[in-house]
């Protein structure tokens, strides 16, 4: 037999008693929600201090308190809603078009060989195309009105939704489908009662990404002849190098993003309460 240098006591002495050591600690990070607020507070505090004392030049970053004031002014003047309402409308309509198209096409790709073979390469080719590169064309294709804004956001949310959807359909447990077939369920029943609900978790987590991308694309969309809108507001602030307003706009978008993410979480809890 083999031989291992014995580092512990060699004799089996029954008088040596010791409690079993605890070795199972760690690897279970817990979320302490106050920490998040604390970190934001620290960041903002440091920036405030830095910008007030001039350690951080006013060219580099605005004073957080000025940004806050800008947002408050924006709110008080009623301009906030004048900017927010059209943006949210564009977001909702554009994302709705893109996502519903995406789910339909994604489901078709998930179900039919012909759609899969024909469309997957096309989607793969469209994915890496930067939407802002196509802005000039969007004017010709969809006009400068709301149409082109919807189209841009729709295109941006379309591709990730398709990819998420057909991935989700692929991941639907095949035994559930076989079960449906074995009970003689019709094709349409299987799709509506088994495939789509089964793909829902994947589709919803795709939704999270699609909506984040939609928000990001708001700015690009509002490059095209938008008078009002958070994107337009940011662009104008940027072109005037007005950092307070730029950051005010960015903060609003960021809050919008967090709101949307919370909304998806709520939606998940509602639709996926069976999990």
């Amino acid at each position: 037999m083999y031989d291992i240098k014995n580092k512990s006591n060699n004799s089996n002495n029954l008088n040596v008693n010791k409690p079993v050591p605890f070795i199972g600690k760690g690897f279970q990070p817990k979320t302490r929600s106050w920490m998040g607020y604390f970190v934001f507070f620290i960041i903002i505090f440091v920036l405030e201090l830095g910008t007030s004392t001039g350690v951080i030049s006013s060219l580099t970053l605005p004073k957080p308190s000025d940004v806050l004031e800008t947002i408050i002014q924006l709110f008080q003047s009623g301009l906030l809603f004048k900017h927010l309402v059209p943006s949210i409308l564009r977001l909702v309509i554009g994302a709705l078009i893109g996502i519903s198209l995406g789910i339909s096409i994604g489901t078709l790709i998930g179900l039919f060989s012909y759609f899969r073979s024909g469309l997957v390469p096309v989607i793969a080719a469209i994915f890496p195309i930067p939407k802002i590169a196509l802005l000039p064309l969007f004017v010709i294709w969809f006009g400068i009105g709301e149409g082109s804004k919807y189209a841009l956001i729709a295109l941006g949310s379309f591709t990730p939704t398709v990819v998420a959807t057909y991935g989700a359909v692929d991941n639907v447990d095949r035994t559930l489908i076989r079960m449906g077939q074995s009970f003689g369920l019709s094709w349409i029943s299987i799709v509506y009662k088994i495939v789509l609900p089964g793909a829902m978790p994947g589709i919803l987590s795709g939704l999270r990404i699609s909506l984040a991308i939609s928000i990001i694309l708001l700015v690009a969309a509002e490059m095209l002849g938008a008078e009002y809108g958070i994107g337009a507001y940011i662009l104008e602030a940027g072109s005037l190098y007005d950092l307070e307003r730029l950051f005010a706009g960015v903060t609003i978008l960021s809050l919008l993003g967090i709101t949307v993410s919370v909304f998806v979480t709520k939606l998940e809890q509602k639709i996926l309460k069976w999990r």
């Binding site: 004017v139 400068i144 509002e222 490059m223």
Partner: protein, 312 residues
């Protein structure tokens, strides 16, 4: 008057004041037009919007994009707007503080320096290039897309020079981090900066409509020039005009903060929308020589000379 509905593209700049005046004072209405403005963030989409038929008339600088669209048979220049004129404050050459400290005091000192443009083929590129040719120096052109990015780069000394309209140039130079070192007009006298343009279809088939538009527009120009440049109505007139323009420009700032910028922005708008064809030809030749547009384009592809007085 038939009250025909048309859409006019505009940027919220003082250089578009003529259109605002014509609308506010009812000159368009008198010409039988019901004008609705469509505002843009940048000039380039405006040109494309004319091509796509989303808007009918607009004012913008001659750019590579505009010429390309003209070459595709989509747009036509029909008149002039903003131009450099001797004796009136025009566009400025600016340098960063860093370059200034390094001894750049006039455009000829810019040899080998970095010159900011939004895009190759933009009017900034044209101005810089022409100046460099005249001074016989070399510039390296840095495309930064957005005016905001250019200002940031200039303030932090990452580019050395730029040219811009006076109402942006002057406030920038006040901070001390940017300096004005020359006038564009010294190199490009009578430079036709912006032009009035429309779709080829309007220019060819809607002659009456186009004439009516130019009539209304010209009246706006006349008002603007007589009040703001020639000061025929004194300070009261200027104030009244500022009020009018403030409805469209710098709307997010209070009147008293906006007024100096509006007044500073005053430049000559060509009388009766007349067009300086020589300047246009010069610009077109430059675009061709830089390889930015097709060599085959002639001045007639770009300009419909039948509408306004042509200066050459």
């Amino acid at each position: 008057a038939s009250n025909k509905k048309i859409k006019v593209g505009a940027l919220r700049f003082t250089s578009h004041s003529a259109s605002f005046i014509a609308k506010e004072r009812g000159y368009f209405k008198q010409a039988g037009l019901d004008v609705e403005f469509e505002f843009f963030q940048a000039a380039q989409p405006m040109a494309i919007a004319i091509a796509s038929g989303d808007i009918d008339y607009a004012v913008t600088a001659i750019s590579g994009g505009l010429i390309s669209l003209a070459e595709k048979g989509a747009v036509k220049v029909i008149g002039g707007a903003l131009s450099e004129e001797e004796g009136i404050d025009g566009q400025k050459f600016l340098v960063s503080d860093k370059a200034y400290k390094a001894g750049v005091r006039s455009p000829k000192d810019l040899n080998g320096k970095r010159y900011a443009v939004t895009q190759s083929g933009s009017s900034f590129h044209y101005m810089g290039s022409k100046m460099a040719a005249a001074e016989n120096i070399n510039l390296s052109f840095v495309p930064l897309q957005k005016v905001g990015a250019i200002i940031g780069a200039l303030k932090s000394g990452q580019v050395d020079a730029w040219s811009i309209v006076p109402h942006i140039a002057k406030p920038l130079s006040r901070g001390g981090s940017i300096h004005i070192i020359g006038n564009v007009a010294d190199y490009l006298p009578n430079y036709q900066i912006t032009t009035v343009f429309t779709s080829s279809n309007n220019a060819k088939n809607e002659r009456a409509l186009t004439k009516n538009f130019l009539t209304g527009f010209s009246k706006g120009v006349d008002d603007y020039a007589s009040t703001m440049i020639d000061k025929n109505k004194g300070d009261a007139g200027v104030n009244e005009m500022v009020d009018l323009i403030h409805k469209y420009v710098y709307t997010s700032r209070p009147r008293e903060k906006a007024a100096p910028s509006i007044i500073n922005g005053t430049m000559r708008l060509s009388d009766g929308a007349s067009l300086n064809l020589a300047s246009i030809k010069n610009q077109l030749e430059w675009f061709k020589s830089e390889g930015l547009v097709k060599k085959s384009i002639t001045i007639d592809t770009l300009v419909d000379q039948s509408y306004v007085k042509i200066i050459s």
